[in-house]
Amino acid sequence: MTAATALQAAFGSAIVRSAVSCGDLIVWVERDRAHDILAWLRDTAGQEYNYLTDITAVDYRDPERPLEVVYQLRSLARKADLRVKIALDKLGPLEVESVYDLWKGADWLEREVFDMFGVTFRGHPDLRRILMWDTYAEGHPLRKDFPLRGHFTRAEQTRQALAANPEAHYSIEELTIAEAFGELPEDVRRRLAHGERGRVK
């Protein structure tokens, strides 16, 4: 049974449609059930999509077409890939449930989608811009209604850039590995603790 039919059986109408493109299975799902579906895909025996390769979004040139949030999943054990898409009406709120609780790696991926497309991830612990700076005021650059050179004049962009405080971009916690030390695998912790860099903790 492919992932698509298994999803149909488990979630019924929450699976909008599915397609195969270039050999890759793509499944469109309802926004409100997406978190349940992704959790099911991760935890169900026979699916085990335990690795989140990427989260991204697509804004199509056709203004009628919805903006799509794309989850690229991989099952490391089964060596299988699956693409899950959520279609968001551009007139409605661009909001989806965060999957940070399922995959910790979703943290920066969701921040990037938020920064570039303005999609809000409900339940994300720290939803800030990640590529553009915090005070960036021109909007979300990868949206199709965003002009290539930005909304402001070059002089205004330069003025805002020169007024920025570079130290404000990075907190000291962001630059230290010590925070993550407790969550590293045991063998990595052992190597780091005795490694040439000295004791971390």
């Binding site: 553009m132 050179r149 070059r154 003025r159």
Partner: protein, 208 residues
């Protein structure tokens, strides 16, 4: 100096030049200091992109920029006198290169290496500074994408030629252009003109 530094501020007025003229003493001292400065430039590498790879090649054994007195790469702006911006500069890095430039003590010079640093290059986008001369003053532009090491070395020798031509009687020589109260280093109209596609690359002239 007024709030909007411009080319006029950097050109000595007649009043400033009155009473000072090069004489035997100053030219002899100039020759000595300029010889020392030109042959012991300590570069602060600001490598942000692909050009930095070519810069590394220039610094490494085959091209060996140490032959021109740049023996020591200074990874601290406080011990550097030449800022080499090798690579494209996004607006997010603009305050950082400005701060590094402000931290460098006089005398100091800068080289803009590559099309991106000089004019934004192919990246005429929302994220990219269209020429670092809208952020800091630039002495030598090295064209190319990336410039070959010979190109950068030619730029360095051009800068050395420029340094040898400096004279201590020029009161504007070490004048700092600071960011003014409105937050600009150049007047906004000028930034807009420079940021036109290929804006400053058509205004370039040889500095030597």
């Amino acid at each position: 100096m007024g709030l909007t530094p411009s080319a006029a501020d950097l050109t000595p007025t007649d009043a400033e030049l009155a009473g000072v003229s090069p004489n035997f003493l100053t030219t002899t001292l100039d020759a000595l200091t300029n010889w020392g400065r030109a042959n012991s430039l300590w570069p602060m590498p600001f490598g942000t992109a692909c050009c930095a790879i070519e810069f590394m090649a220039t610094a490494a054994g085959r091209f060996d920029v140490a032959r021109f007195g740049m023996e020591r790469m200074s990874f601290s702006p406080r011990q550097a006198d030449l800022l080499i911006c090798a690579g494209r500069l996004p607006f997010k890095l603009a305050p950082i290169i400005r701060r590094i430039w402000d931290q460098m003590p006089q005398p100091k010079w800068s080289i803009s290496m590559g099309a991106c640093a000089s004019s934004g290059g192919i990246f005429d986008t929302y994220a990219m500074v269209q020429g670092i001369d809208t952020i800091i003053p630039v002495d030598v532009y090295v064209p190319g994408c990336p410039p070959r090491p010979e190109g950068l070395i030619y730029g360095v020798t051009m800068l050395q030629k420029k340094i040898r031509g400096e004279t201590m009687v020029d009161p504007t020589l070490r004048r700092e252009t600071e960011v003014d109260a409105r937050g600009f280093y150049l007047p906004p109209e000028k930034i807009d003109v420079l940021s036109e596609p290929f804006g400053n690359s058509v205004h370039q002239t040889r500095s030597a």
